[in-house]
């Protein structure tokens, strides 16, 4: 057995990292096609407000984070529809609200020790409870993604046309908005906000550089995010690099690489055509 697998924390990091990178790539594909690529940042910031609220009102801060994330995500969805061409503003507005609320509420939290312990997530320090939570979440997200795949495909292609042809657009959007919110709130505490908000976007952006269809975009995004996660953990294990940053940077390398490949391929086919 290779050294890296002899440690339980690494087994857990690889396992949970793998699960999360698959579901986050799926959710990311949906969100990027909806032009909500910064939703991960917005939600992870809003979740702070939920943590503060939970500490203040005396309920579980993780539940608070989840609730606020769901409310924020649904607000983004609602505002997005009203703004038409400027749908990305919805993310900015909800993020500002979340940060503002977290700032004000955290002023009332007496001990920053409590607060900090609910914000911190590290992929190399995952508790068994968190690992189980991620497992359950992954099953739900994957099921939803597979079952609603056709509808998703329609919606991301043309939301209005999909609605006309009878796709329950509102329902599908709501399901994925809520799933993204729950995923971000859990993953931010499990592996850290940096990993989760980046993996929602960068692998999808990389995949779009070479993929020619919705399906291949999803598959390439999963490929990029899983390889980056595992690669990042391996590099961190053997070379002492910070895992979060390494994972994110690897996915950016894939983005650049895939864009170059896509560019070269296009040039090649243009030449062929001429």
């Amino acid at each position: 057995m290779p050294l890296i697998l002899q440690y339980e924390y690494m087994q857990r990091a690889l396992f949970v990292g793998l699960l999360l990178s698959v579901i986050v790539a799926c959710l990311g594909t949906v969100m990027v096609h909806k032009r909500l690529s910064l939703i991960g940042d917005a939600l992870s910031h809003s979740s702070l407000a939920g943590v503060a609220l939970g500490l203040l009102l005396g309920f579980n801060p993780i539940v608070g984070a989840m609730a606020i994330c769901i409310v924020s995500a649904l607000s983004i969805e609602a505002i997005r529809k009203k703004l038409g061409n400027h749908s990305e503003l919805a993310v900015a507005i909800v993020m500002s609200t979340g940060i503002g609320l977290a700032g004000v509420l955290s002023g009332f939290v007496k001990s920053s020790a409590d607060f900090n312990s609910f914000l911190f997530g590290s992929i190399v320090a995952i508790s068994s409870f968190e690992a189980r939570l991620v497992m359950i979440l992954s099953v739900i997200v994957l099921l939803a993604f597979v079952l609603l795949y056709k509808e998703l495909f329609y919606i991301s292609f043309d939301e209005q046309a999909a609605a006309i042809s009878g796709v329950p657009v509102g329902f599908v959007n709501a399901v994925f908005t809520i799933l993204t919110a729950v995923t971000v709130s859990i993953a931010a505490r499990t592996v850290g906000a940096l990993i989760i908000s980046s993996l929602l976007v960068v692998p999808v952006a990389a995949a779009m550089g070479i993929a020619k269809s919705y399906k291949t975009t999803v598959l390439w995004a999963i490929f990029v995010s899983t390889v980056s996660t595992i690669g990042g953990l391996v590099l961190s294990f053997y070379f002492g690099l910070k895992p979060g940053g390494t994972i994110v940077l690897l996915s950016v390398v894939f983005f650049l690489l895939f864009r170059v490949i896509g560019y070269l391929r296009e040039k090649h086919s243009v030449k062929k055509g001429a």
């Binding site: 339980e8 007496k110 900090n116 190399v124 320090a125 508790s127 070379f239 002492g240 690099l241 895992p243």
Partner: protein, 329 residues
């Protein structure tokens, strides 16, 4: 008089507005207040400084702690209210050695000409911060450390947690006593007397540590962040920090493995965590190596409940000693 709903509502509003505003003003006011009249006004940065100043000054001083309880002092910055308090104060006690990197800036912008600033660690032989990843060389480094002088006090160059050795605590209290005597000659005898009492307690604490830890000399402790350099130097222990001297960084996977291997190699039975650092990482290591976790306080961020319930330097250090002994037993 006929009851008028409108008038009733407006008077209720007026009263609640007045009360609310007054309440707001009171809660915002953080100055020294009336009971500080006639006393030496001291602003101390972190809990150990606050506690030491209180011990030496007794009821002749009014001490305010600048950094609120439960806040990581490395991250704190002063508010405008804090600046106002400094304008009123006679003595500003800070630990120094890089603990409060903002102290110089803050002092530079205070107009209060009579304010005496005291770096309490000025007479302590400072330890240089060791590279976290150089655990193998802990031995060689330690010898060098002993000869280090403290000419420059740049942030990050020295380990600021000097008070965790009772001897250094004694030196810091001596410095505080000196400063108080210079400011308030009339009560010099009281300060000297308080210093004598505190010194006695420091010596008792020191011998308690020395005696209890004697059997475990050369032993290793795993701590949340490397704050215990002075304590380890004094009593012949070696610390393995999950983080370096400053807390709040994410560990990398290689560092985790290194620590787990050391824990297994040395048969360490306990991983220490501290209140202000998330215990998740400590817990992960403990789970992996099959040992327990235990709190060890670096004292800089004692919670408000602890302070209100009368905990002080000596009682927390006694608890630390118990925790250390329990970890080796």
């Amino acid at each position: 008089m006929k009851f008028s709903l409108k008038r009733f509502i407006s008077s209720v509003l007026a009263v609640s507005f007045t009360v609310g505003t007054a309440g707001l003003l009171c809660s915002c006011r953080r100055g020294f207040g009336a009971d500080a009249e006639g006393k030496v006004k001291v602003v101390a940065t972190i809990f150990p400084m606050y506690d030491f100043a209180q011990k030496i000054g007794g009821d002749k001083v009014a001490v305010k702690m600048l950094i609120p309880a439960g806040t990581e002092p490395h991250e704190w910055e002063p508010s405008t209210n804090d600046m106002l308090m400094l304008e009123e104060a006679d003595l500003f006690v800070y630990n120094g050695a890089g603990m409060e990197p903002w102290a110089e800036d803050v002092l530079g912008s205070v107009k209060n000409k009579d304010l005496v600033a005291l770096e309490a660690s000025k007479d302590v032989t400072l330890l240089k911060t060791a590279e976290v990843h150089d655990m193998e060389d802990v031995h060689d480094h330690e010898e060098e450390h002993d000869e280090e002088e403290h000419e420059h006090h740049h942030h990050g160059e020295y380990d600021p947690h000097v008070w965790l050795s009772p001897k250094n605590a004694e030196a810091e209290m001596e410095a505080i006593a000196e400063a108080l005597i210079a400011i308030d000659e009339a009560n010099a005898d009281i300060y000297r007397k308080n210093l004598e009492d505190a010194k006695k307690q420091c010596e008792d604490l020191d011998s308690a540590f020395r005696e209890a830890l004697k059997p475990y000399e050369g032993g290793h402790i795993v701590v949340a962040h490397e704050a215990y350099g002075y304590l380890c130097r004094e009593y012949g222990l070696k610390q393995i920090g999950i983080e370096g001297v400053s807390a709040d960084q994410e560990p990398d996977a290689a560092r985790m493995r290194e620590i787990i291997d050391k824990v297994n190699e040395y048969g360490i039975k306990c991983i220490f965590f501290e209140e202000l650092v998330d215990p998740k990482v400590a817990q992960t290591i403990a789970d992996e190596a099959g040992c327990k976790t235990q709190a060890l306080s670096p004292l800089d961020g004692l919670s408000k409940e602890d302070i209100d319930s009368g905990r002080d330097y000596f009682s927390v250090m006694q608890d630390n000693l118990k925790a250390l002994v329990a970890a080796f037993e």
